[in-house]
């Protein structure tokens, strides 16, 4: 009897312990720091990652992505699929079912009308919505009943999980944003800075480009979460300062985007207060080769256009030699440490989508020299620079002002000089380089150089839209005001044809096969793109913060409701 009572007691204690552990608001305050401060809490008006991540603690989409890139339901009962009937047989519509009794943080019910409104908000022609691509191909969004949202597409859609999926496309409250449609969108300062959401936290204070204060949302759907009563996001400073505040002084619990040199990472780790976490998405630091001639002697309007093929880089042997001369492992070691991996792909992940292309990893200086000899580039006058038909093998290599990129430039210049290539380096202010101003000669789209280096990524695990940028028609030209994503002016009808089949292929395995082929066509088959490093996003969290699961496919704060204080 006594034993039985004791056992019952033990069971009771065990039963209570987790419950007491998981209670809303018992763990005090969680403090986050972002090197770039939060400007606005409405991701539809920003597009900046800092703003999207901060707002994801408040605003939620119907479904999110977990660290493996797998869809997880957030505000809905389940992920609609062909099997459960959520996606129509002809793949022209998808139907989402909202969770029952879902409430906004102000206590009012979440209904399908809010989703319909969100679609209208982002697709309004005068709104300037930065996530408009999420709603591309959407013909209509209807509220079948208050719980059911039906998204109809213009045609069969291979990947229907775009609208209302991930932190880029959350649901806004219709009541709050009703007066903010179209041109009025930017004027709704209060709504944009303090949106009402369904997430684990609600905004209690917002100072532009400085601090966001949040408190647990008492109407959050899981009564036991979040464990923290309040949260603070302090912005500003630099990556090193943010990392230091977590790793060395312990003032903050989480620092987003702590991209610092590997040796500094190591010395901060030694302080023993926190750890770095890294998530690998699809971000690839790469060299883009210019297939057109950027010669300043050409008339303006013809420079760097398809009218004049590049005199040196049009030869695949030269491009391959340039790639072979690079030791990517050293680049990773110098620039990124644990935050990077050598890669030969533009689609380095997720698994299943990445091609098994690793032929470029090992440096092959002799092979590179042999290739250039074969291509007719020989050092005939003995000055250390190869030449052919009286023309020197000289390249202009540009990138943005950034310490890691300048290290990369110096290293690559050394290797190429050894190869017999004369390299001129140029570093451009990132605001100008990425600014896209058609009047500036220094934008990455205009590409008035032979080689340029930057990083790009696919925003979703399915890389269809990302691969679309290498289509012939997307080349920046003076006619398109130098807008366009096909920076290399790569033009291969085979690529375009294969890409066209991707849009109509719905079978996952077949899509992955196409993606791999397309990846190979721009990398190892043509060496138009010379990938260097698969970059992860590096963040830091304190040892006293539990539950962090860094995520490259959605907001890093995707599971902030599950974070807790390690006691």
């Amino acid at each position: 009897m006594k034993l039985r009572a004791a056992l019952m007691g033990a069971v009771a204690v065990l039963g209570i312990a987790p419950a007491a552990f998981a209670e809303r608001g018992t763990d005090g305050e969680v403090k986050l720091t972002f090197p770039q401060a939060v400007s606005i809490m409405n991701p539809y008006l920003s597009g900046g990652t800092k703003d999207i991540y901060a707002s994801s603690m408040v605003l939620e989409p119907l479904a999110g992505l977990d660290p493996n890139g797998v869809l997880i339901p957030k505000l809905v009962t389940e992920i609609p699929t062909l099997e459960n009937g959520g996606i129509s047989e002809d793949r022209t519509s998808i139907t989402w079912k909202l969770l029952p009794d879902l409430k906004w943080s102000d206590g009012t019910p979440v209904t399908a009308d809010d989703a319909v409104f969100t679609w209208q908000y982002c697709t309004h022609p005068e709104g300037g919505c930065s996530q408009a691509t999420k709603y591309e191909g959407v013909a209509s969004v209807e509220a079948v009943d208050p719980q059911t949202i039906k998204v109809t597409f213009n045609g069969p859609k291979a990947n229907p999980y775009t609208a209302f999926v991930s932190a880029l496309s959350p649901i806004l409250q219709k009541k709050q944003f009703e007066a903010c449609l179209g041109a009025a969108a930017p004027t709704c300062t209060d709504a944009n800075n303090m949106p009402i959401g369904t997430g684990p936290f609600k905004v209690t204070g917002f100072t532009v480009n400085d601090t966001v204060t949040l408190a647990a949302n008492e109407n959050y759907r899981d009564p036991a979460k979040p464990a923290f009563a309040t949260a603070v996001i302090k912005g500003g400073g630099d990556a090193e300062g943010s990392a230091r505040a977590v790793m060395e002084t312990g003032e903050f619990d989480y620092a987003w985007n702590t991209q610092i040199p590997p040796d500094t990472q190591a010395s901060m780790l030694a302080a023993g207060k926190g750890q770095f976490v890294v998530a690998f998405g699809t971000l690839v630091e790469r060299l883009e080769t210019n297939t057109t001639d950027p010669d300043p002697a050409l008339p303006e309007g013809e420079r760097s256009t398809a009218k004049h093929p590049h005199p040196i880089l049009s030869d695949i042997r030269v491009r391959t030699a340039l790639s072979k001369a690079i030791d990517r492992s050293i680049l990773v070691e110098v620039g990124y440490g644990a935050g990077g991996k050598p890669t030969c792909n533009v689609i380095p992940g997720p698994e299943g989508w990445a091609s098994d292309n690793d032929g470029c990893i090992a440096q092959d200086m002799e092979g590179a020299k042999a290739l250039l000899d074969e291509a007719g580039w020989k050092d005939s006058d003995g000055d250390g620079v190869r030449d052919k038909d009286g023309k020197k093998l000289k390249l202009l290599y540009q990138t943005t002002v950034n310490p890691i990129r300048q290290d990369f430039q110096a290293l690559i210049k050394d290797w190429w000089t050894e190869l017999g290539v004369e390299v001129e380096l140029k570093a451009i202010d990132p605001g100008v380089f990425f600014g896209g101003d058609p009047g500036s000669p220094d934008t990455f789209q205009k590409f008035y150089a032979d080689i340029e280096m930057y990083a790009n990524n696919s925003e979703s695990p399915d890389p269809e839209s990302y691969l679309g940028q290498y289509q012939c028609k997307n080349a920046p030209t003076p006619e398109t005001q130098w807008q366009g994503e096909n920076i290399n002016r790569f033009c291969n009808p085979e690529y375009d044809a294969l890409y066209a089949t991707m849009a109509t292929t719905t079978d996952l395995a077949a899509r992955q096969e196409i993606a791999k082929k397309l990846n190979d066509m721009v990398t190892k088959d043509s060496m138009i793109v010379i990938p260097l490093v698969h970059r992860g996003t590096l963040s830091a969290h304190s040892n006293t913060l539990g539950g962090v699961q860094i995520n490259a496919w959605d907001s890093e704060m995707w599971n902030v409701a599950d974070w807790f204080r390690v006691k």
């Binding site: 990652t49 300037g128 004027t187 230091r244 600014g435 896209g436 220094d442």
Partner: protein, 335 residues
């Protein structure tokens, strides 16, 4: 004096208008785009729509005159609305930042307090350190104290704040753990504990900036004192049998302060301008951090408004310095 002041004030109007146009054109013609910080995953057509929604595609003069109207009419009107509950500016478009879509003056209002407390205190601390150093250095010229003061000034001048600030962080925050590295702008000082917290978080930025300020002012103070030390009236004072204390602190110091006060007054606009590097380093997020953030993001309305306010302050404090000079030194009369 009054006519002089009035004439100067009237002259300031065309000066400021020209300055505002020059700033606007400079910022507008600078390369870069407000979309530079948007990830590459946002396609060009969406970027174009965003630029149109900001009004950034309008011709430059349309935008300039719109800004003038907003700055000189809408913003004062909405300020009056805020005070008296009137509706002068109802339905009018205030100056909105392109980066955050918030009214620029709201942002300035949020940031001015911490800039004035931190940078203002640093300036005050700088003056309090510099004036005694300057006086004693001049009085005992070429003594070891003077040499040490010169060394101090050299260090203050030549060590950039990003270095001295980082050094302070490593010593006082990482090793000793006395002070926080990030300034909490939300801290409300309402009791002793929060006051101590405020002092702690101000300590490092104030030290960093105070050193730089003190270096400059102590040199002015010293040279001005030296100029006066050899004057005839000082010899007269000594000959009258006055104590050294009276000679130095009453006769010499008062006369030496005249140019120093002007220098100090001319430095005041810089307090409002904030300190870009120090603010960023310690997360003070005042006006300086706002300005550099806006420049990076090509946020034209924000840069333009801030730069213009600085211009107004500089013109104003130049005038104040001139008037002060006249008041302090009766030999100077402007009429």
């Amino acid at each position: 004096m009054l006519t002089f002041t009035l004439r100067r004030l009237l002259l300031a109007i065309p000066t400021l208008l020209v300055i505002s146009l020059v700033i606007f054109l400079l910022v507008d013609l600078a390369p870069g785009s407000p979309m530079a910080e948007i990830p590459l995953t946002v396609p060009p057509d969406v970027r174009q729509k965003m630029i149109e929604a900001l009004g950034a595609d309008q011709p430059v003069f349309v935008r300039y005159f719109l800004w003038l109207r907003q700055f000189f009419w809408v913003e004062p009107a909405s300020l009056i609305d805020g005070w008296f509950g009137t509706t002068l500016a109802e339905g009018e478009q205030r100056i909105l930042s392109w980066q955050s879509r918030s009214p620029v003056f709201t942002i300035i209002g949020q940031r001015l307090p911490q800039t004035l407390t931190v940078i203002g205190t640093a300036y005050l601390v700088g003056i309090l350190i510099a004036v005694p150093i300057g006086i004693y250095s001049a009085y005992r010229q070429y003594s070891w104290f003077d040499q040490a003061g010169t060394l101090f000034a050299m260090i203050g001048f030549s060590v950039p704040t990003f270095f001295s600030g980082t050094l302070l962080i490593i010593v006082f925050a990482v090793w000793l753990g006395w002070f926080p590295t990030k300034y909490d702008t939300q801290l409300v000082v309402n009791d002793w504990a929060s006051f101590v917290k405020q002092i702690k978080q101000m300590a490092m930025p104030v030290m960093t900036l105070g050193l730089a300020n003190a270096a400059a002012i102590s040199r002015y103070m010293r040279s001005s004192m030296l100029d006066n030390m050899g004057m005839d009236y000082v010899r007269t004072a000594r000959a009258k049998g006055m104590s050294e204390r009276t000679v130095v602190l009453k006769h010499v110091l008062r006369n030496s302060l005249i140019p120093v006060v002007t220098v100090i007054a001319l430095g005041i606009p810089a307090i409002f301008g904030g300190a870009i590097i120090t603010e960023n380093l310690f997360g003070v997020n005042g006006i300086g951090a706002a300005l550099i953030g806006a420049i990076h993001a090509n946020d034209l309305p924000m840069v333009q408004t801030l730069a213009f306010i600085f211009a107004v302050l500089i013109v104003l404090f130049n005038l104040i310095a001139d008037i002060l000079y006249g008041l302090l030194d009766p030999r100077i009369r402007y009429d």
